[in-house]
């Protein structure tokens, strides 16, 4: 993703007259087309943690250097002269401001070029506003006749206002397309052009005010997106992708009536294609697990919980959560403005409930990877891990990969026990959870990763994402899981990573303490009826390592595949 410059010139200085009503605009980072604290919006994939922090925009943009070699040489000569003079007498205020002024001048030249090339004769809005000005103050004979015929301009409200907004939108889109910049940057560019007089010469003062206000509104739409979702602007929540990176028009995946989800293809910074699923954020969310664990229905912070889950998985080195980021994309639903939403990489494989080959669920690598997801869920307090929101992918001749999605019903402040995500029949406080009890076996790799994590790590990882109470609950769950793992160690139930296929290990897994066994029992039940369940237990008990017996059981299960429910 290319860096986005401030349309007013790549500096962080407020543009004169940025507020249409005389007051300074709200302190919202994206207002006036400027990213928060002049942050370069760089896709997280291409930068280190340090580079995610807000940073000052570069003094001279590379684009300027490459396109204006002659001017740069002149500027360089000026800089040399100024430097020599400064050495003699010390810097004056003039000297100090000179580089910034040069940047402003360069930016203005660029802006003028862009506006003239994208909006010949000022564009549709200017045509309309100049026509209004001519009717109000006709100077030529033609204008006088025109004014007589059409009368004085009427206030821009109602349908006239809608038509006016549509003209502005079309002009901003033209700027965005010509300049290959995002919509909100284009809106801010047009605004700056009106402020500096590149556009809007001779239009009526009230119309000018309205135009500026409308452009403000469009540029601020991004900021309002964050505000309306009550989402903090942090390095983790800045949009990793915006409209300019959309390669194909998003296509609806969900129903649209009750679930708006889109397939999107975006361009990564390195030019590769990011195949993702985009879901616009909503302000409210309901769910039993969320409610039971203390996640507020009217401010669920869905994005933060998803991102916090990914951070936790990365910190532990558990590669079981899909890459999840924020994106600001126009899904072309007719509203014409980009929406803030979560974008997740497209999961590979099948949701666990759709695994038709039961033998997949007995593979040692699948057991290990699903157990990693389960452990992560105990740590994050994920209360809604069902077989439809995690995927199992078996690449040809490769190690199984497990990917969890929909990670929003987690990190509730009331969930302090890592085993609390287990569904318990007959208990009104637990019957809606979809998790299991703690795993009866872990491997040394898992043990090491969880024991190595400190309270300080957790605070640092979650500090800008969750509330203090939610972080405390996360610390409590981590402590609880460490105690459980210590007990497993004492009982000799910490195995080596390559031992998940051991018969005694598989026998310890049950539907109440293991996701993978839960899915396995269901799959057998659905696919093979009673015989399948009997075959499962029979084959596991008698000869868990006897490959031929297991193959026989699987064969019987497969032959009865259509006999589900």
């Amino acid at each position: 993703m290319k860096p986005i410059s401030n349309p007013s010139g790549g500096t962080v200085r407020p543009v004169e007259g940025t507020s249409t009503d005389g007051a300074r605009g709200p302190n919202i980072p994206h207002a006036a087309g400027q990213p928060p604290r002049s942050v370069d919006l760089v896709s997280r994939g291409e930068q280190s943690d340090a580079s995610m922090r807000p940073r000052a925009a570069p003094p001279i943009l590379s684009r300027q250097v490459s396109s204006q070699g002659g001017e740069i040489r002149e500027e360089a000569a000026e800089v040399r002269q100024a430097t020599a003079a400064t050495r003699e007498r010390g810097p004056t205020l003039e000297d100090l401001l000179a580089p910034e002024r040069r940047q402003d001048a360069t930016a203005r030249k660029e802006r003028v070029q862009l506006v003239h090339s994208a909006l010949p004769n000022g564009g549709a809005v200017m045509k309309r506003l100049k026509d209004r000005a001519a009717r109000e103050r006709p100077s030529t004979s033609a204008e006088k006749w025109h004014a007589l015929r059409n009368g004085k301009p009427k206030p821009l409200d109602g349908d006239r206002r809608n038509a006016f907004d549509a003209l502005i939108y079309a002009d901003v889109m033209a700027l965005a397309e010509t300049g290959k910049i995002d919509f909100w940057v284009a809106a801010a560019t047009m605004r700056a052009a009106v402020v500096d007089g590149t556009l809007g010469h001779g239009i009526l003062a009230p119309d000018r005010q309205l135009l500026l206000k409308t452009l403000d509104r469009m540029a601020m739409h991004v900021a309002l997106n964050y505000e309306s979702k009550n989402l903090n602007v942090t390095s983790d929540t800045l949009p990793a992708f915006t409209n300019s990176q959309v390669l194909e028009k998003p296509t609806m995946l969900g129903s649209g009536t009750y679930n708006s989800v889109f397939a999107v293809k975006l361009q990564n910074p390195d030019g590769s294609v990011f195949d993702g699923v985009f879901k616009p954020l909503t302000r409210t969310d309901r769910g039993w697990a969320a409610g039971a664990t203390g996640i507020p229905e009217d401010d669920p912070q869905t994005a933060m919980r998803n991102i916090a889950t990914l951070s936790y998985a990365k910190k532990l080195g558990l590669d079981v959560i899909v890459d999840t980021r924020l994106a600001l994309i126009d899904t072309d639903t007719g509203r014409g403005v980009p929406e803030l939403g979560l974008i997740m990489e497209r999961s590979l494989g099948e949701p666990a409930y759709r695994i038709t080959d039961v033998s997949v669920l007995t593979r040692p690598d699948v057991c290990a990877e699903v157990t990693k997801l389960q452990l992560l869920d105990h740590l994050t307090g994920q209360g809604d891990r069902h077989a439809g929101n995690y995927f199992i992918h078996i690449p040809p001749n490769g190690r199984a990969k497990v990917m969890g999605i929909d990670n929003d019903q987690c990190f509730g402040k009331n969930m302090t026990d890592p085993a609390g995500i287990q569904r318990v029949d007959g208990d009104p406080e637990r019957w809606g959870f979809r998790g299991t009890g703690l795993p009866p076996v872990v491997d040394t790799e898992m043990e090491h990763k969880i024991n190595k994590l400190t309270e300080r790590n957790i605070r640092f990882m979650l500090g800008n994402k969750l509330s203090e109470e939610e972080i405390e609950a996360a610390i409590s769950r981590h402590k609880g899981l460490k105690i459980h793992i210590a007990q497993l160690r004492s009982a000799g139930r910490v195995i080596e990573p390559e031992q998940w296929g051991r018969a005694d290990v598989q026998l310890r897994l049950s539907a109440k303490n293991s996701y993978v066994e839960r899915e396995r029992v269901k799959a057998f039940a659905w696919q093979a009826g009673w015989q399948g369940i009997k075959a499962l237990h029979h084959s596991r008990r008698r000869a868990a390592c006897d490959v031929s017996t297991r193959r026989d059981a699987r064969g019987r299960a497969a032959s009865a595949r259509n006999n589900i429910w």
Partner: protein, 206 residues
């Protein structure tokens, strides 16, 4: 059946609900007419005949509720609910005389393969219609004791199984029969009840 909590006549949302299922090219669940007349829209994609404290996605809440409240009024819930990008399902819940049926099948998620999912939904709803008609036969023949219900749970995300439960029984102590082959097993069970080969008896109060 007991009286529904939503009285008909307040403008049933049944046509809207049916239109929504039609748009999804799914058959409409077999909601009894007297309940269909009381359907009201309660969420963007779902309808119910009574006010609910939970949304349909919370499958286990409804299962537990019917166990905990024997005097629950007859009700139906139909529609689509969920969260995230793939945790979405179609729902058909029906609680009435002799029946407590809860169906939740994946639909509306980003990763759904529509045709197999549609086929599964259609098949299960058709089965539900057959089940309800046999249940009515058994009821009209006086074969189902008062207070006894056939409980059916069919969720891909949650519980699946079936059992007979009467109002005097401790639900937590009553085992579910497994989901494997349950569709055929329940139809056979009702045939046996109608044919007198299987006698349903209420348990003596504890």
């Amino acid at each position: 059946m007991n009286t529904s909590a939503n009285e008909p006549g307040n403008g049933s949302a049944s046509p809207t609900a049916q239109a929504l299922f039609e748009r999804e090219r799914l058959p409409f669940p077999p909601v009894p007419p007297q309940l269909a007349a009381s359907l009201q829209q309660q969420g963007p994609g779902w309808f119910a005949t009574r006010p609910l404290s939970s949304t349909p996605y919370d499958f286990d809440h409804f299962l537990a509720e019917v166990d905990a409240q024997s005097g629950l009024p007859d009700y139906a819930v139909v529609g689509f609910d969920g969260h995230g990008i793939n945790s979405w399902a179609v729902h058909f819940y029906l609680v009435g005389k002799g029946i407590a049926l809860f169906i939740q099948l994946p639909w509306g998620g980003a990763y759904l393969e529509p045709e197999p999912a549609r086929a599964e939904i259609a098949e299960l709803l058709e089965w539900a219609e057959t089940l309800l008609s046999r249940l009515r036969l058994a009821e009209s023949a006086g074969k189902i004791p008062d207070g006894m219900r056939l409980q059916v749970a069919a969720s891909r995300f949650g519980h699946a199984g079936w059992r007979w439960l009467d109002a005097t029984q401790d639900a937590a102590a009553t085992r579910w029969k497994p989901s494997a082959g349950m569709k055929a097993a329940m139809l056979q069970e009702l045939d046996d009840v109608i044919g007198g080969r299987r006698l349903l008896k209420t348990m003596p109060p504890r």
